[in-house]
Amino acid sequence: MIVASRVGHGPRLAPLALLALAALLALGLSLALGSVSIPFEALLEVLNGEGEALHRTLVLELRLPRALAAFGTGALLALSGALMQVLLRNPLADPYVLGLSGGAAVAALAAMLAGLGATLVAGAAFGGALASMLIVFGLAHGTGSWTPTRLLLTGVVMAAGWGALITLLLAISPVERLPGMLYWLMGDMAYAASPWPVLAVAAVSLVVMLPLGRTLNVLARGGLQAMALGVAVRPLEWTLYLLASLMTAVAVTTAGSIGFVGLMVPHMLRLRLGNDQRLILPASLLAGGTLLTLADTLARTLIAPQQLPVGVITALLGVPSFLYLLYRSR
């Protein structure tokens, strides 16, 4: 590894430019592919405000919102995973490790069981995620000293509890509701109503976190070390926790609990790019968005007209590439 690639900002732009290019390609692909394939020239015409009516409807009203929603969701999950990993000083943490998706899932499934509509299910998921976040926040505070290990344990135990409740809800649900519930649990972009919440939250989070990049690098060396170097560790940790949780809650509300993106994307990038958060955070955002956009394109085209849960694709794409990178790394 060349020193220059890790220090100073010029060289940092190269991997980001590459990832941005990949993101554009993935978005283009997801607009072009589907029940009707649209050639590249026709796609450009549509994006210029011209082209056939059918193509315009397909691209602008169906595929573009869904592609953007997938991109935003993937970006949120990867960014939130990267933050959770620093917060818990554990490269194996992911956005769901503290039980957030469990809380969201229990609330969403309960709403589905009650026969509520899509908007209310999304609202319930958001409420469940926030409730889970507050419970873990309150309990990890506890009466004793606060440590990342304690937060992790509290979250993991909460997640296990939510898991049991999810199984219970599935067990008592009527058979005709089960497919919808299972798709929600595995993550499905078909629920995404509008891409703007995820995109906006992802952009705002990145803007908030980027100036903290170097501070996060120091925090990754341990709480005491960070304090000794002048970091106000406790407020920073709560900021991380709240922001990462909110990001996850918005992502889960949009698309159900899509697994693997939040764990794998930051981890994979670290294997290639080192652990400078000033690079890893924007890179996670781009790579997470790209991965989920591609996965969702596959999910709706592989066995069309039937759609697969996108969470299955992220895992099937992610597991081999992750294992390959891990195997190749020093």
């Binding site: 590894m1 060349i2 020193v3 890790r6 220090v7 100073g8 900002h9 990993q85 620093v86 000083r89 554990n90 490269p91 100036p211 903290l212 170097r214 501070t215 690098n217 120091v218 990754a220 060396r221 341990g222 005491l224 070390q225 304090m227 000794a228 170097l229 002048g230 970091v231 106000a232 670290r270 294997l271 080192g274 652990n275 400078d276 020093r330």
Partner: protein
């Protein structure tokens, strides 16, 4: 010049009586050694002096101000801490690790510049680490890692050094090199306080000693006054043989 002072300081070790409150003054140029058996509170004392944990009573002042009044960042610009253990859960190179010593001096929007890089590289050179600059921390030996920790604080170049067993894991030559480095920092006007397990390093390189007993008792003063064999034997509960070598006492545990 900043001095590190404690005023009626009682460190907080759960379940231990208060013992003797500490009224210390580590002045610029002084080299303090903290001696005591395992569990006597040496690390806790250093962490308390660095403001990383709250004392049970009393206060710590740096340049005449209580640590809390100064704020974390201002403290980090004046006081550096060498930890006994380091975390490397995430990948990081040796140079990156030295460079974080500049963190207290940079605003959030600032990138490390050429001057910061030069300071880090000089610190690596001083600790014989230049050839390892691009290596991952996880591939280093214990002693090399210990030198990286010292390089980070050297990059920070604080007025007050707190070092928790700085010679841990080091071979003989590097033990001497590190003690020379700390002595050199003191000669340039830093106050240095270090926890040591090696009586002989303390006898040769420290001009003041603080003896910490497991029950919270403590005594301190100039090294030549404190290096009394009977006192040290009581401190460690270990009979010692004393010899004079090169005009300095050498302590050897008796079997």
């Amino acid at each position: 010049m900043d001095a590190l002072e404690t005023h009626r300081l009682v460190i907080d070790i759960p379940g231990r009586a208060a013992g003797r409150p500490l009224d210390l003054r580590v002045s610029p140029g002084e080299r303090w050694g903290v001696l005591g058996p395992n569990g006597a509170g040496k690390t806790t004392l250093l962490h308390t002096l660095a403001g990383l944990r709250a004392p049970r009573a009393g206060e710590v002042r740096l340049a005449g101000l209580p640590l809390a009044r100064l704020g974390r960042r201002a403290v980090a610009r004046r006081l550096g801490m060498v930890f006994q253990t380091s975390h490397d859960d995430f990948p990081a190179t040796v140079l990156e690790t030295a460079l974080i010593g500049r963190h207290p001096f940079l605003s959030p929007w600032h990138q490390e510049g050429p001057e910061d890089l030069a300071l880090a590289e000089a610190a690596l050179a001083r600790l014989d680490l230049t050839h390892l600059a691009d290596r991952e921390l996880s591939t280093l030996s214990g002693g090399e890692r210990q030198r990286v920790s010292l390089a980070t604080v050297l990059t920070q170049s604080p007025q007050t050094w707190l070092a928790d067993e700085p010679t841990n894991h080091l071979d003989l030559h590097h033990q001497v090199a590190i003690m020379d480095l700390l002595a050199e920092q003191a000669a340039q006007g830093s106050g240095v306080m270090m926890c040591l397990h090696d009586l002989n390093l303390a006898a040769r390189w420290c001009d003041h000693l603080l003896l910490l007993y497991p029950d919270g008792e403590a005594c301190w003063g100039p090294a030549e006054v404190m290096l009394v064999p009977t006192v040290l034997e009581r401190l460690y509960g270990q009979p010692l043989t004393t010899a004079m070598v090169d005009g300095a006492p050498v302590f050897v545990p008796r079997r």
